[in-house]
């Protein structure tokens, strides 16, 4: 996943690059990591640790073998309050994998019988996307920071200011001198399109997607909303 600039992503390559810290955890390490949060229940911890490790093992296999290896799903049996949910919650953090928890009973409510169990997978994908975004954001953080700084400077001194002024402000900005000054910047609204599902047609919200994204891209991400208009800074600093 790290900063590859290739445009086409060969599948096997992705898998191999997906070596995270968790990848180095042996089943025993997973168990001892779980021990920090859940007391006892060693059998269950072992089972999930093995299952988790097996996924990483599978990632390392050759492609044709890889498709054959199916995950061994787990059934945990035990009275309430003994740590079933807690184990899986902690596990998901360890695994750094997309994780959803669903109550099976959700699908029995009257009027919702068998309500689209596929929604589980859609939720999972949404979570994966969010995770991926966070990861990517970290990768581009340095670059984004620079751009953000430029925008703050634009707001502070305007883009007509001389290089010298700009640089002096940049220095003060980095030192944190200007932290409390008010500026005005245009921020685009979070573009959550309202999407709805058409009953009986799972996945039918396809039609609604990303019109805002498309428009945004073609028009160069126009800012849509101005936030908090209070421009004291120009007076304070134009000495």
């Amino acid at each position: 996943m790290e900063k590859s600039n290739v445009t086409s992503f060969p599948k096997g390559k992705i898998a191999k690059e997906k070596t995270t810290i968790a990848n180095s955890l042996s089943p025993r390490e997973i168990v001892s990591e779980l021990d920090r949060f859940v007391v006892g229940q060693n059998k269950a911890k072992r089972a999930v640790a093995i299952a988790l490790r097996n996924r990483w093992r599978r990632q390392a296999l050759e492609d044709d073998m890889k498709d054959e290896v199916l995950p061994k799903n787990i059934l945990m049996i035990g009275p309430t309050g003994v740590g079933k949910t807690e184990i899986s919650r902690r596990l998901s953090k360890l695994a750094e994998a997309p994780f959803v928890k669903v109550e099976a009973t959700r699908f029995t409510e009257v009027g919702y019988v068998g309500r689209d169990v596929e929604q589980i997978v859609r939720d999972l994908l949404e979570i994966a996307i969010a995770m991926e975004k966070v990861k990517k954001r970290k990768e581009v953080h340095a670059q984004a920071q620079k751009l953000a700084e430029d925008r703050v400077l634009d707001a502070l001194v305007g883009n007509k200011a001389s290089v010298a002024t700009r640089e002096s402000f940049r220095k003060r900005l980095r030192d944190g001198d200007l932290d409390d000054n008010e500026i005005e910047i245009a921020v685009s609204e979070s573009n959550q399109m309202p999407s709805f599902e058409i009953p009986g047609m799972p996945g039918a919200n396809v039609g609604m997607i990303n019109i805002s994204d498309m428009l945004g891209k073609s028009m160069g991400q126009k800012p849509k909303k101005k936030e908090n208009v209070s421009q004291r800074i120009s007076r304070n600093f134009n000495k």
Binding site: I77, T80, G81, K84, A104, N181
Partner: protein, 228 residues
């Protein structure tokens, strides 16, 4: 907004511009298909119970819906199809009324690894109170620390809490480790209420203190049914 506040917003916005949405979706799909974990809670509640007839929606139907998902199918999403073959499913249930064998045979076959979790006894409770990184005791200490009150649990205090918890669990209803929450909350009720006025004090919770506070409740099963 202030320069400081703007920082994070701007960074997020700029990085969003740098990120290619398509690539994110692609790798997110990949990680869903290969690394996704689905935790199905309360699976025993959808098993068909023979002793209960009518008035209930078909539980078996749900199980049948789940089958293809666990077995591996392709789900259409707004980002395109996602294969579920390699998603790991962890199902869990208490199975107090229903048995695992009450599930559809097909479903049982697709959950090949069975693990049993043991009911907790008072020794476990002691460990739960003391050992985990952010154990209940540590949480309460930290909470009251914000009021400048030093909370101290003695060894026998912890033992007493654990004993009461397992006692109530066996006499009333077994709700596992959650019982500790209700009991500690009861014990510390007075302290939590008055802590603001008691800044600087050091309060020690020992066996006697606990018994003074909830001892009566524990003895009276009827009462503890409602309160603990």
């Amino acid at each position: 907004m202030s320069v400081k506040e703007s920082h994070e917003i701007l960074i997020n916005e700029e990085s969003d511009k740098l990120i290619e949405q398509d690539k994110i979706i692609k790798s997110a799909k990949d990680s869903t298909e290969n690394n996704g974990i689905v935790f199905l809670d309360e699976i025993d509640k959808i098993s068909a119970r023979t002793d209960r007839v009518g008035g209930d929606v078909s539980r078996e139907g749900v199980q049948r819906d789940l089958l293809p998902l666990i077995e591996g199918t392709t789900v259409s999403t707004k980002y395109g199809p996602v294969k579920t073959d390699h998603i790991l499913f962890i199902a869990s249930g208490a199975f107090q009324l229903a048995k695992p064998s009450d599930l559809l045979p097909e479903l049982q076959g697709r959950l090949p690894i069975r693990v049993e979790l043991d009911a907790l006894n008072s020794e476990d409770f002691i460990r739960i109170l003391k050992e985990p990184d952010n154990s209940l005791i540590k949480q309460y200490k930290a909470l009251l620390k914000t009021e400048n009150v030093d909370l101290e649990f003695t060894e026998d205090g912890i033992n007493t809490i654990a004993n009461i918890a397992s006692e109530v669990n066996s006499s009333v209803e077994n709700i596992g480790a959650r019982r500790l929450h209700t009991i500690i909350e009861r014990v510390l009720d007075e302290i939590s209420f008055t802590a603001t006025d008691r800044a600087g004090e050091k309060i020690t919770v020992d066996s006697k203190y606990i018994k003074d506070n909830i001892g009566e409740l524990v003895k009276d099963t009827d009462l503890s049914k409602f309160i603990l």
